[in-house]
Amino acid sequence: MSEYAARDSDGVSVGIVEKKFHTFAAKSEDLLVLESGARLGPVTVAYETYGELAPERDNAVLVLHALSGDSHVAGYYGKGDAKPGWWENMVGPGKGLDTDRYFVICTSILGSCGGTTGPCSPNPATGKPYGLDFPVVTVGDMVAVQHRLLQILGITRLLGVIGGSLGGMQALEWSLRYPDQVAGVIALATTMRHSALAIAFNEIARQAIMADPNWRHGHYYEGPKPDTGLAVARMIGHVTYLSDEALRRKFGRRLQEKKDFSFQFDIDFQVESYLRHQGHKFVERFDANSFLYVTKAADYFDLERRGGVSSAVEAFAAAQASFLVVSFTSDWLYPTYQSRELVRALKKNGLDVSFCEIKADCGHDAFLIPNQRLSRLIANFLERVQRENRQPGQTP
């Protein structure tokens, strides 16, 4: 996702931010019990916060990141940073998530490599990175870890949870796992369950990693890394986040620095060059095992079977929040019909839900790209949720 991270066009930013860490489940009697039944500890959570928590502690908004994101949503770690956080266009003073009004929190997800415990963290049993000894985690486990952090921060109720893609899944999970602790849910470009198509692409990407001879069943941390496999995995993923229209507009069949075909297997087309570049950039910042774990968690996510229920309608019987669901016209990874299924389940439970399909030609990643309509939508939805959830007698 960081390929979209860019300086705000108006230069507005939260400024210098700091990544913080909190560790829990350090004692053997206090381990985190995962959905699989496995026990994990210690667990470190990497997180960042922006804005100020109100004295009433009622203005906290949790941002949930997608597959390749991390806790660094907005701002810069230092003056020399070339790039801000991945959602700089949405999070900051006066933006869609207005840090002058809200206390915005983002944690790196469990199993990934953004500083929160994952397969590249040291296994306390061996002192070496877990590798595949790391237990398989779920979206529910990610949310449980976020919940533990919020307890430490003294936040018992969130004004909002917001996320796109895998982040949207976490937002939905929040509304079911802690129904009385979330007032508003904003689910962007997401789904209640992966289609066979989405699972298929994830599996191809995982196979690319596992077929790399350097992968060595996940124990590569002391030697060469499966960079080729991870780069190919990223290339596959990246294509699914774009669209036919976006690729046509951006590249067409244009050739890369040549007038004719090379009649060899080096780069001919611009789109090939672009994908290789994306792949190479990705391996510098992402761990191949984390890619396996996080995509698996996304594939396992299924609200229609969550907790033994037999339908999404049944699953959302527990929810209490107000919902804003947004899909994008050219998203072929999680097409609009999947958002509509979600909306239908919410409606059938009598829940408050707004839904909009935004016209955008940039595919699944549309939620990451600056879009004033989306920013306004989010700002106004959150403002309403805050107004409706304010206790009587509080200052408006």
Binding site: V12, S322, G350, S354, F355, N380, L382
Partner: protein, 220 residues
């Protein structure tokens, strides 16, 4: 609505009251709605009626609208709005979910009116329907004297581009409701000015003199 690219930063807290006064038929409809009730507005546009009902009567409202830009405006006003097709969206609600379901100036565009109204009478305790009165004397004049399909302020389309596939008069609608075995709880015929923002109630010869009919229906 301004173009997205030229817009300034999102401004929360400015729901944007309608710059112009509300349409007169909507004012009449609003006067029928009891405070604090639960309302579904079909084809809610930018949500003028719902916004008014929410502000003045504390109504718990939901809107359904097809056009993306209008949906966005509605949500920006702090309303609950779903983008979608009326016929499909109303299928997802349990019986008597709403106190009122409002279908204002849309019936003339509905492919299966009897089926739709039947659904609305299930999901809502009462249904408000308003439509342009096709048998207004000006329309009759155009047909009789000029031999032309009527084009008026209320029906501003030519035969080749009109979305209005149903020709409804107040008299026809009354007959239809009777035939379906439903009950008319309230009805008002109105005559509106050129901008539809002001008008008056027509009591004498409404089928001839009114531009719009407004009905409050329920099941027997």
């Amino acid at each position: 609505m301004k173009a997205a690219t030229s817009d300034s930063r999102p401004t929360a807290g400015q729901p944007g009251t309608p710059a112009q006064p509300m349409r007169f038929d909507l004012t009449v409809i609003a006067s029928w709605i009891k405070p604090g009730s639960k309302v579904l507005d079909l084809g809610c546009g930018e949500g003028d009626l719902l916004y008014h009902l929410k502000q003045s009567k504390g109504v718990d409202g939901t809107g359904i609208e097809m056009v993306e830009a209008k949906v966005l405006r509605g949500i920006e006003k702090g309303l609950t709005v779903l983008q979608g097709n009326i016929t499909e969206e109303v299928q997802d609600y349990a019986d008597n979910t709403f106190d009122y379901v409002i279908l204002s100036q849309t019936l003339q565009q509905v492919y299966a009116p009897a089926q739709l109204l039947n659904t609305l009478l299930q999901i809502g305790r009462q249904v408000v329907v308003s439509f342009p009165n096709f048998s207004h004397w000006k329309n009759r004049w155009q047909i009789c004297a000029q031999g032309r399909a009527p084009v008026s302020k209320q029906l501003p389309f030519e035969w080749y581009n009109t979305p209005n596939i149903r020709v409804i008069s107040i008299a026809d609608f009354q007959r239809f409701i009777k035939k379906m075995g439903w009950r008319i709880r309230r009805e008002t015929a109105i005559n509106t000015d050129h901008h539809d923002q002001h008008g008056n109630v027509v009591r004498l010869l409404p089928n001839l003199r009114a531009t719009y009919g407004i009905f409050l229906l329920e099941k027997r």
